[in-house]
């Protein structure tokens, strides 16, 4: 096979790959747009985007996880829990979802009192 033919095949492959990569019914775009919205403190917009992803792909771990974070931000604890559980059902070993869920549960616990005291930090220095 000549070099020109190989190059042509490679370019065709590149074109096809890009078409399929970018298409992916724009779900990645929606996830990314949601993240952009969250970065800009537009959490309602982010929720809207991630819900849209779930409409098309109910198994999207990213959308479930990110929605859970958004619900936490809005103080909707039960909704957040449901989304984390849904994400873990799809991807039980995803470390980031597991970590988020752990932090979420820690946030629900009462703040620990300072059992040891802070004597050493006070005037005893």
């Amino acid at each position: 096979m000549s070099k020109t033919t190989l190059t042509a095949i490679a370019l065709a492959f590149l074109g096809i790959s890009l078409v399929f990569g970018c298409a992916g019914p724009r779900l990645k775009d929606q996830v990314g747009f949601g993240i952009w919205a969250a970065d800009n403190d537009l959490w309602d917009e982010a929720v809207f985007r991630w819900k849209k992803v779930l409409d098309q792909d109910p198994q999207s771990v990213a959308a479930h996880n990110n929605l859970a974070v958004a619900y936490e931000k809005k103080g909707l604890w039960e909704d957040a829990r449901k989304e984390y559980e849904a994400a873990l059902k799809v991807a039980p070993d995803n470390p980031w979802v597991k970590l988020n869920f752990k932090n979420f549960k820690d946030n629900l616990k009462p703040e620990k009192s300072d059992k040891k005291g802070k004597a050493a930090q006070d005037e005893n220095k």
Binding site: L14, L18, N66, S113
Partner: protein, 219 residues
């Protein structure tokens, strides 16, 4: 390898298709604290007294608690604060809904605050830095030791609904502070320690936000 190598192009195409890069984004976001209490459901807060396990001489812990926390509840949650001392015989009473229901005269939106309190004081010897050697002074070795007052406030708070007698908030606080003044006044120490309790108590009640880390997934 030349830049236009077909193999390199294929590799680039494969990477483009896969998307490459990270799969997550770490963010720091202010999240509200979880509150089991809905302050808007109540209009009156009744201090019904605390079981006092221990208090320094000359200090009425019940009175100090009401005087310190009463105005805080009024200011922060806009509750009408009243005092209705109840004979508390044991801690079991806090978990008896019938008892608290019977205290509530009508369908008022009343919240009772009660619990167990203890303010203890002890004197400790503290070792200060280096003891200066002074051959002239027979008490030189004692220069490195000083007395400290150590105060500990234990407060187990219960917030109880008047209409159902249900405990809506049950928190245990223990705060300790040492003072270089061995004759530190107990009421001043209470004020210092109650301030710490206040911060920890109101943060969840008011769902105050705290900076936390979360991970957003990119795909």
């Amino acid at each position: 390898m030349k830049i236009n190598s077909p193999i390199l192009l294929c590799l680039l195409a494969f990477l483009a298709a896969c998307g490459g890069g990270d799969t997550y984004r770490k963010i720091r976001v202010e999240l509200p604290a979880y509150s089991p209490l809905h302050p808007e459901q109540f209009e009156q807060l009744v201090f019904s007294g605390f079981l006092v396990a221990k208090e320094p001489d000359g200090l009425d812990l019940n009175k100090e608690i009401v005087e310190y926390f009463g105005p805080e509840f009024e200011r922060r949650l806009h509750f009408r604060v009243t005092v209705q001392r109840v004979a508390l015989e044991s801690e079991e009473l806090f978990r008896k809904p019938d008892f608290w229901r019977s205290l509530t005269p009508g369908p008022g939106r009343v919240l009772y605050i009660t619990g167990k309190a203890e303010l203890s004081r002890e004197t400790r010897k503290a070792i200060l830095g280096k003891a200066k050697a002074d051959a002239e002074d027979p008490l030189a070795r004692q220069r490195g030791i000083a007395e400290r007052s150590l105060f500990s406030l234990s407060l187990h708070l219960y917030l109880i609904r008047g209409d159902s007698g249900e405990v809506v908030l049950d928190r245990d606080f223990k705060e300790t502070k040492a003072y270089s003044n061995p004759k530190q006044r107990a009421d001043f120490a209470f004020y210092d320690l109650a301030q710490r309790v206040k911060t920890k108590l109101f943060r969840p009640i008011l769902s105050e936000e705290r900076m936390q880390e979360r991970y957003l997934l990119l795909k």
